[in-house]
């Protein structure tokens, strides 16, 4: 059984289908964070587990040609920067607090209504800056966890020479 290269054909075909479905489901959980259980961190973890499944099925060398580490690193930095800028922009607007919800009663933003109090079926158009923050955090968690798995799948180099003398493998 070859543990380094790609796996057999059945595994590759099924992991293609599951990858597409899990990516879309993870994005749905991130986007509806203010209506159903979920949010930024949970959806990002679902998307990262989809990428890890693809990494297992195809081997790290094949994936490293298409999805480079520099792209994922830029995505992670963009997510964290966007979150910080949204937090500081709360000062510059009408409310003078950090993390102020300045898109709530505006006619400018997209998510800018207030839901009726009490039990209601969810409306997507509500909750100000919260969906934007969820999107940025989801992007950062996806890139971060994928980078951890990607680095560990590269693993030890083929010939490991122990620094205290003598070979290991």
């Amino acid at each position: 059984m070859n543990l380094e290269g790609p796996m057999t054909k059945i595994v590759r075909v099924f992991s293609n289908a599951v990858f597409a479905f899990a990516l879309i489901f993870g994005f749905y959980v991130v986007l509806h964070g203010h209506l159903t259980p979920g949010g930024g961190f949970q959806g990002g973890a679902i998307m990262a587990s989809a990428v890890a499944l693809l990494l297992i099925a195809y081997g790290a060398d094949r994936i490293g040609k298409g999805l480079k580490k520099g792209t994922l690193s830029s995505m992670e930095s963009l997510g964290l920067l966007g979150f910080i800028l949204l937090a500081i922009a709360g000062i510059a607007s009408a409310m003078n607090v950090v993390f102020g919800n300045f898109l709530l009663d505006n006619s400018l933003g997209i998510f800018s209504e207030v839901p009726p109090t009490g039990v209601n079926p969810g409306y997507l158009n509500t909750a100000g800056t919260l969906p934007w923050m969820s999107l940025f955090v989801g992007l950062e968690v996806l890139a971060g966890l994928s980078l951890i798995v990607f680095n560990m799948a590269g693993g030890l180099p083929k010939e490991v020479k122990s620094s205290r003398g003598g070979e290991v493998k």
Partner: protein
């Protein structure tokens, strides 16, 4: 005593995790013990915020006339889970570095700092 079952399970998990940290000599088993202790503490945080007969604190299509569970411990447990993941990833990377330097993961043979 049987009504406090979640708190008894927390004590049992901490005992199991502490046994793995103190009495095992393989480095990877020690890292697993640390991860078990972190899971037990997250369970304790959530079990401390339960109201009897409560439902989830979400207003979308909730059943009428029920009291809701407290939302703050759930929000702080989210943070604790992510920090536990970050700690475990760094610990495992250090175990790989030690294996590269010494050639073994037995904690009785890693004595370079003592000489």
């Amino acid at each position: 005593m049987i009504e406090n079952l979640p708190f008894l399970m927390v004590a049992l998990f901490i005992a199991i995790g502490l046994y793995a940290v103190l009495f095992k000599t393989n480095l990877i088993k020690i890292v697993m013990g640390i991860s078990i202790i972190e899971s037990a503490v997250n369970l304790f945080l959530i079990a401390g915020g339960y109201i009897k007969g409560g439902i989830a604190p979400i207003y979308t299509s909730a059943p009428e006339g029920e009291s809701m569970v407290l939302p703050t411990p759930q929000a702080l447990t989210l943070t604790a889970i992510v920090i536990g993941l970050a700690t475990t990833a760094l610990l495992l990377s250090f175990v790989v570095l030690i294996y590269r330097h010494y050639g073994t993961v037995d904690s009785r043979k890693i004595r370079g700092l003592r000489e």
